[in-house]
């Protein structure tokens, strides 16, 4: 049951290196093709999701951006939304918040990294 629609998008400030990842990732993910960033932004830095808990309204987008030199993923603990592919430096991953509720997620590469999304009506 997918309560989130996943989308991968590449950050505007791409450095050349992630160029070839774009194609690989775009092929795997469903792109909803609209604006991206929005205000619900979660930065991944120093092996942590920041903010660790975010509260959004149903239908809003949530975007993670990886600022580490290490790849990270965004994976729903209860498999409530499609997991991200490996996000390399400066790559983004966006989901659209579905039904109200609390959604826990973590990085499957570094499971110590956890975060929570609270979706309100």
């Amino acid at each position: 049951m997918n309560t989130f629609i996943s989308k991968i998008k590449i950050a505007a400030l791409l450095c050349g290196i992630s160029g070839f990842s774009v194609l690989a990732l775009a092929g795997e993910m469903k792109d909803t093709g609209t604006d991206g960033a929005g205000q619900n932004k979660i930065e991944i830095k120093d092996f942590a999701f920041n903010p660790q808990t975010i509260t959004v309204k149903s239908g809003e987008k949530i975007t993670w951006i990886n600022r580490d030199e290490e790849p990270h993923t965004v994976v729903s603990v209860e498999k409530q939304f499609k997991k991200s592919p490996a996000l390399d430096t400066d790559q983004e991953f966006t989901v659209v918040a579905g039904s109200p509720g609390t959604y826990s997620y973590f990085c499957s590469v570094h499971p110590k990294m956890t975060g929570t999304i609270v979706v309100k009506q």
Binding site: D46, E69, E70, P71, A86, S104, T114
Partner: protein
């Protein structure tokens, strides 16, 4: 060996004189470096104090390489394929080639087929052709390790998510997988199925059989705040308690650390790609950027020697500088 060790200041079963003598038979003195302020292990722990002879085991040397991270191209090392090549050159230059290699995971940076392809291509230049693998978390990101298993674990007929064992020269080797099905908030994990297999795997072995266990994430708790440990490793080690010599080889943390506990020697290897900070010395365990001229002194490989009639395996790290 006891006649070599006379000043055991650090209670690690070794002193300088004894170490150098042991290095003579280990045969890797030419590559050994102890200077430069780099953490180069002064290992060769006396694993078992009561040394009975091991009638079935014969001399053996093999090499551990780890954490190649092919595809990584950030500041900490812009050319990881080059440093991997240098590591292979070092292996090819060894006076006595190792019988086989063990790669303890993170071949790739992002689990991409082209990264594995590059690794395989470069590895062809290695004179030693026999390689045994266990995956790192970077190798299994998108598909739960399916591609990795098809590429690297086919010949060993891995059970479950890919674990296996084999015997060489009377030494029993066990390759474990602790990077799959990880739980949110947790550490590395072996899981019940693998642990049950392990218990069964060693059941029939005599207590004097030297055991070598290799896995990606350390099988002892190095630094849980950074996820450097395996949640259920204690249970695994419980099955190995009765053995006189157990050597545990891990990667993941890109630096040499060693611990001796009873008959068990735990050892982590350097990466061939980039160093990582010592536990707790940085905000995160991310790649550590060092001055270019220092990089190779923080990359390396690990040579392991088993000599018949001894109870210890000699674990010797050499840098790429």
């Amino acid at each position: 060996m006891s006649n070599y060790i006379s000043h055991d200041h650090e209670h690690d079963g070794i002193d300088r004189r004894g170490f150098l003598k042991c290095m003579a038979w280990a045969g890797t003195g030419v590559l050994w470096t102890i200077s430069g302020g780099v953490l180069v292990s002064k290992t060769l722990a006396e694993v078992a104090k009561t040394g009975s002879s091991l009638p079935t085991a014969t001399d053996l040397s093999f090499l551990q390489i780890s954490d190649s991270h092919i595809g990584f191209n950030k500041a900490a090392n812009k050319d990881v394929t080059e440093t991997f090549k240098i590591a292979l050159d070092r292996i090819n230059a060894m006076p006595t080639p190792p019988s086989f290699l063990i790669h303890t995971g993170d071949i790739s940076q992002l689990s991409k087929p082209e990264e594995f392809d590059t690794f395989d291509q470069i590895l062809k230049s290695c004179r030693t052709k026999d390689v045994f693998y266990v995956p790192g978390e970077h190798d299994v990101i998108n598909d739960g390790g399916k591609m990795y298993r098809e590429r690297y674990l086919k010949n060993v007929q891995g059970k479950g998510s890919g674990w296996y064992s084999f015997n060489k020269n009377g030494v029993h080797f066990i390759g474990l997988v602790n990077v799959l099905d990880l739980q949110a908030g947790g550490l590395g994990q072996l899981g019940d199925e693998q642990l049950e297999w392990l218990e069964d795997d060693v059941k029939g072995l005599g207590a004097d059989t030297p055991i070598v266990v290799f896995a990606h994430i350390p099988l002892w708790t190095v630094y849980p705040q950074w996820g450097w440990g395996t949640s259920d490793s204690e249970r695994a080690l419980g099955y190995l308690k009765r053995f006189g010599s157990v050597t545990v080889l891990n990667g993941h943390i890109h630096q040499v650390l060693q611990k001796v506990e009873g008959n068990v020697t735990f050892h982590t290897a350097m990466s061939t790609a980039f160093p990582q900070p010592a536990p707790g010395t940085a905000p995160s365990p991310g790649p550590l950027s060092v001055p270019a001229e220092k990089l190779r002194s923080m990359l390396g490989l690990t040579s392991v020697q088993y000599k018949q009639g001894t109870t210890a395996l000699a674990v010797v790290d050499t840098t790429l500088s």
